[in-house]
């Protein structure tokens, strides 16, 4: 088997908390705390969790939009050499920027309203050295067709388009440079139901057509289930479960994953929601609880969970869970 396209090892991102007039650092927000996972080429990995769990920070570290505090972000280049993106300088990163692209959540905020579609989608091409306007126009037309928009729209401005169409424009822009890895941060959560399905279908189709690798950041499990091969669940900066999508949904091994799944309202009035609702709130990553971070909210918590932090253990081949009782619990 070839090496994974992306291999994240021991990723950490701490944000300092500065207090007082001298801005002395009094502590750290451990936004991402020792996260490791791999993404194979052509695979879609879902990164799931509640707000503040560190999923977006993880994605931003991989994109090097922010600098990780510690850890490696190993990326396999086109000629099969492995490079570590984490310590690279801006110049060193240059050639890889066009291979790793991002689709943003908000299709209204992420497009420049003063630029036409041609300029919005074509800018990454210009930045990457495609000087000829003619050439760029051909490429933008091709991209727009690819995402299901008419090339004639090229000279219009974003305000003329609906949310779903704008998200398609955002996708076209992300694909402009011919990326291998696409990081999508909640790409459909701002869209209406009927439009969500269209955009999800488009992403699935593009993935198989262009052999894209996806890192899909989302809080909506039903969406993740629909599009991802594997799912990584995060809680307070740590991975708590990582496995194939089917395995997670068939039998979650971490009580938090199970609770997340139960929380999704079922679109059927005959199926009543369970009463086992997750109590309390996500603890602050600046002062996480002792032992297992999830124990204050866990209905299976025992004395040991308070004392001892569980490690991410392999429960069945390829199925990892960070729980002392991962093998015993019937969730």
């Amino acid at each position: 088997m070839t090496a994974p396209l992306l291999d994240v090892r021991g990723l950490r991102k701490f944000f300092p908390i500065a207090k007082g007039m001298l801005r002395r650092v009094t502590g750290h927000v451990r936004a991402v705390d020792d996260v490791s996972f791999t993404v194979q080429e052509g695979e879609a990995l879902g990164l799931v969790g509640e707000s503040g769990c560190g999923k977006t920070t993880t994605a931003r570290c991989i994109l090097r939009a922010i600098d990780p505090t510690e850890g490696q972000v190993l990326y396999r280049t086109r000629d099969d050499t492995i490079v570590d993106l984490a310590p690279m300088s801006a110049t060193e990163l240059g050639p890889f920027r066009k291979e790793i692209q991002m689709i943003f959540q908000d299709p209204f905020g992420s497009l420049n309203p003063r630029m036409t579609l041609f300029d919005n989608v074509g800018e990454p091409l210009l930045v990457n050295g495609m000087r000829s306007r003619r050439e760029r126009m051909d490429r933008v037309a091709e991209l727009l067709r690819l995402v299901g928009l008419r090339p004639e729209f090229m000279h219009r401005f974003p305000h003329a388009f609906s949310g779903g169409q704008r998200q398609r424009i955002g996708i076209a822009r992300a694909l402009a440079t011919g990326p291998r890895l696409v990081v999508a941060d909640e790409p459909v959560s701002a869209l209406d139901v009927s439009v969500q399905a269209q955009v999800l279908n488009l992403l699935l189709e593009l993935q198989s057509r262009l052999r894209l690798t996806f890192l899909f950041v989302a809080h909506d499990l039903s969406v993740v289930r629909h599009i991802c091969d594997r799912v990584a669940v995060m809680y307070v900066g740590q991975l708590v479960e990582l496995a194939a999508t089917d395995a997670v949904f068939r039998r979650p091994r971490h009580p938090y994953t199970a609770a997340l799944m139960r929380a999704v309202p079922v679109p059927d009035p005959r199926v009543s929601g369970t009463n086992a609702i997750l109590k309390g709130e996500v603890p602050s990553p600046a002062s996480p609880p002792s032992g297992c971070y999830f124990h204050p909210r866990c209905m299976f918590a025992e004395e040991r969970c308070q004392r001892e932090a569980p490690t991410l253990q392999e429960v069945t081949p390829g199925h990892f869970a960070r729980c002392h009782f991962a093998t015993e619990l019937e969730l």
Binding site: S51, A197, C228, A263, V264, V266, P269, R270, I277
Partner: protein, 341 residues
Amino acid sequence: MPPIPTATDPLLQVRDLRVSFRMDEGTVRAVDGVSFDVFPGQVVGIVGESGCGKSVTMRAILQLIDPPGRITGGEILYRQGATPIDLTRLPPRGRLMRDLRGAEIALIPQEPMAAFSPVHTVGAQIIEAIMLHERCGKGQARAMTVELFRDVGISMAEQRIDAYSWQMSGGLRQRAMIAMALSCKPRLLIADEPTTAIDVTTQAQILALLRELQRKYDTAIIFITHDLGVIAQMANYVVVMYLGRIMEEGPVDEIFHAPLHPYTKALLRSIPSLNSETRTALPVIAGTLPHPFNRPPGCPFHPRCEDILPERCATAVPALHTLAPRRAVSCFLHSELAEPA
């Protein structure tokens, strides 16, 4: 599923409501002939995509339509005592409307961050609302607020009431908003996408809380959302809207298990669920939502409809036809009834 109370008279009757926005580019008919009833103690869910007029309907009920918007027709009958009053006839800034707003009809807005003032404590804002509508002193209002905070499950209520909204988490803020909406024991609560901006786990907590409070106070709720899962779990009665018109309305079980309108059917098919097949294309509704200035003639849904009747649907507008008490649909597949041209 809770039974639908029908023995009493409706608390609110919306009759052929029309709201339009007159702008330089043309007139947008945001709400175009909407009718539905809300009974005491019942949860009515209004579903629809952006631009379907669900929020404008809600603002019309509260008389909060700002120019260039205007209620151009219809009635909103609110039953207070024996005779219903037509809210559309009341001056929006008049005494009567101001007495109703907040006290009888309360609102839980979508974005609690934007709804609370950041420069006043959350408690102060709720106390102000209570003192405006009830005859009581500040101390008493404060005690009531603490009680409300406990009711909606905010721990350390005495301390939290002196917090600012930006010091609270999303879930806490939404709870505080619910406390504020319930402060004067409203008979009708309008919840406009109250859980859209928050996490699933917090959403589950908020929905459970709303259900519990609804039972406790027997409040009627109009629940506006685009999430069909939330509707299925919350509503007794569902109104499906598209481009300012009602496509279909009926008891929740019938909407989900025996939908009549092609739009409702298509919507239900297109939601990814926790049980659907992984990594397969979802059935979608073809086409896109038309721009409000480009409303299609005839049935608003016809350009995207799979079961279109070619001659009929593009030329005439189907009227909302009542099939049974509390069950109506506007589609030529089910009724020949058309709106007068």
